[in-house]
């Protein structure tokens, strides 16, 4: 009994510690400039003020938000679709070079993105894609080795008999993939999509390098540069951070059960 109370106490403390920066962000974002210096950081500013958000949106933040949502959706869609196709080929088809190629894919997991950053930039320059949507999205949207790996493992666990039956009935490869394999793969698809959305929404270094014009600016780059432009306007900086943090937080709350269960799956190799 005493152990249980102790466990709960530690858990509550841990969870408070995990989420208190979010609280501070919300509190600070809704304070007016005067309230910031009159209240403790953990006290709410009364009445709440949305002035900070007004300043943000005046400086083009709405555009960054739309850009980030569209680019995240576009890259994620590409990554998931192309990873499904590749994973299906690796899991179900036999062709010369399959195992060697799969090994090549896996080995690229060890390449740190920092290492590829300069060559990628120069490649985009050669292709004339610096500061374009294509340059921003192309290098990552063709499927990630990690997603391909996770999907392949899952597809291999689906009994091939199911597909054979459909194929005897005359369904083609593509039909069996869409109507039999994918519906059975929902858990792993949620995992792969979540990992992709988080990575793409949060992406910073590549957008920082490859885009320069303001109409193509993403949230992450926007708030990082914002700090330099306006100095220590913590109200506005926290309002901007809140806009960046909130959508993933909502996503997490909605899919919380799936995510917690499925993230753990990815570590089991």
């Amino acid at each position: 009994m005493r152990l249980r109370i102790f466990t709960y106490a530690v858990l509550v403390a841990g969870c408070l510690f995990a989420i208190f920066p979010y609280f501070l962000t919300v509190l600070t974002a809704f304070k007016g400039p005067g309230q910031l210096s009159e209240t403790m950081p953990w006290e709410p500013g009364l009445p709440p003020s949305t002035a900070a958000f007004g300043r943000l949106f005046d400086s083009g933040f709405g555009g960054y938000l739309v850009n980030t949502a569209l680019v995240t959706a576009g890259i994620t869609l590409g990554q998931v679709v192309f990873a499904i196709l590749a994973a299906y080929a690796f899991a179900r088809l036999s062709f010369p070079g399959r195992d060697a190629l799969f090994w090549v894919y896996l080995s690229t997991l060890m390449v740190p993105p920092v290492v590829t950053m300069i060559p990628l930039y120069l490649m985009m320059q050669k292709l004339g894609l610096v500061d374009t949507w294509a340059g921003l999205m192309l290098p990552t949207m063709l499927g990630t080795p990690y997603a391909i790996f996770l999907l392949r493992q899952f597809f291999r666990g689906i009994p091939a008999d199911l597909e054979d039956a459909a194929r005897i009935d005359g369904a083609g490869r593509f039909r069996t993939l869409v109507s039999i394999v994918l519906p059975l793969s929902k858990p792993i698809l949620v995992t792969v999509t979540t990992l992709a959305v988080v990575a793409n929404w949060n992406s910073f270094l590549w957008p920082l390098i490859i885009t320069s014009s303001e109409d193509k600016r993403l949230l992450s780059v926007g708030i990082a540069l914002f700090k330099g432009e306006i100095g220590v306007d913590y109200n506005a900086v926290m309002a901007g951070s809140l806009i960046a943090l909130a959508p993933l937080l909502v996503l997490f709350i909605v899919f919380q059960r799936f995510i917690v269960r499925s993230v753990a799956v990815t570590g089991l190799k």
């Binding site: 249980r4 466990t7 858990l11 841990g14 969870c15 510690f17 995990a18 989420i19 920066p21 979010y22 501070l24 962000t25 950081p41 953990w42 590409g78 192309f82 990873a83 196709l85 590749a86 690796f90 088809l93 062709f95 894919y105 690229t108 060890m110 390449v111 740190p112 920092v114 290492v115 950053m117 300069i118 060559p119 930039y121 120069l122 490649m123 290098p139 063709l142 499927g143 080795p145 391909i148 929404w201 949060n202 910073f204 270094l205 949230l219 780059v221 708030i223 220590v232 913590y234 943090l245 993933l248 937080l249 919380q256 995510i259 917690v260 993230v263 753990a264 799956v265 089991l268 190799k269």
Partner: protein, 304 residues
Amino acid sequence: MLRPAPRRTRQVGKAQQTAVAYALLAPSLVGVLGFLLAPVVIVLVLSLFDWKLLSTPEFVGLANYSRLFADEDVWHSLLVTLYYVVICVPGTTILSLLLALLVDRKLRGMKYFRALLVIPWMATPVALGLVWSWIFDPGRGALNQFLGVFGIDGPAWLSSPVLAMPSVAAVHIWQFAGYNMLFFLAGLQNIPRSLREASSLDGASPVAHFFTITLPLLRPTMLFVLITNVIGSFQAFDTIFVMTEGGPGDSTEVATYLIYDEAFRKFDFGYASTISVLLFAVVLFATITQFVYFERRTTYEVSG
């Protein structure tokens, strides 16, 4: 149960299957070969060139490497990176393992606690860096205001050369402890419950049980968590970019930051590539060392 004839004997064209396979693989092949493998080759080639913005690339052999070995900034940034890794990796690993032990119990509401602990993992690192800069703010920030309640005069966390790095590393630990907890939790739940009951019947203390049974059985999870964290923390950039910009002085100038600086502020692509190669070599070395270490330990257990 009767099975249909093995698929592979169906001669409906091996060639056709190969064609379908490569059609399905085409997009990811472009991605993996063109945007992951080719850049590795290119960065190696670039490291042999002197190439600044607006100049024509000139082959200089290993000149960049001799400059690298004599460059104190590079070695300093490598040490700074190692310092960051040495705080983050054990900090994250130990904390996440402790959390996993804590949430691996059947208690009411446990799934909500698990979920709350994972939330920081999803946070945009740049936004997070700004939020923590605000918490660490020496004047109005939450941390020093909180310390002030107890009459403690808190330091200027991020502008002190001594405290800046531990502060930045603490944010990394805060962000990833809950996430890594999930892997340990999965590992713990794979350990048969009968083992736990057996050792408690033997009268082993929970602590002894942990070190003799649980920890060795968690070895594959441990390897996964260590490797992903080492690779991840060697590449720290986003939070440092917004929290300290490598400063104060160069006390948080990690390797990634130096590479970014050389390539995209000084436009010295050749030399920046050389530093990239060095960082890649260090990350590879660290990864392979861990594999070998864990391999040996496992063999030792089996033979001993």
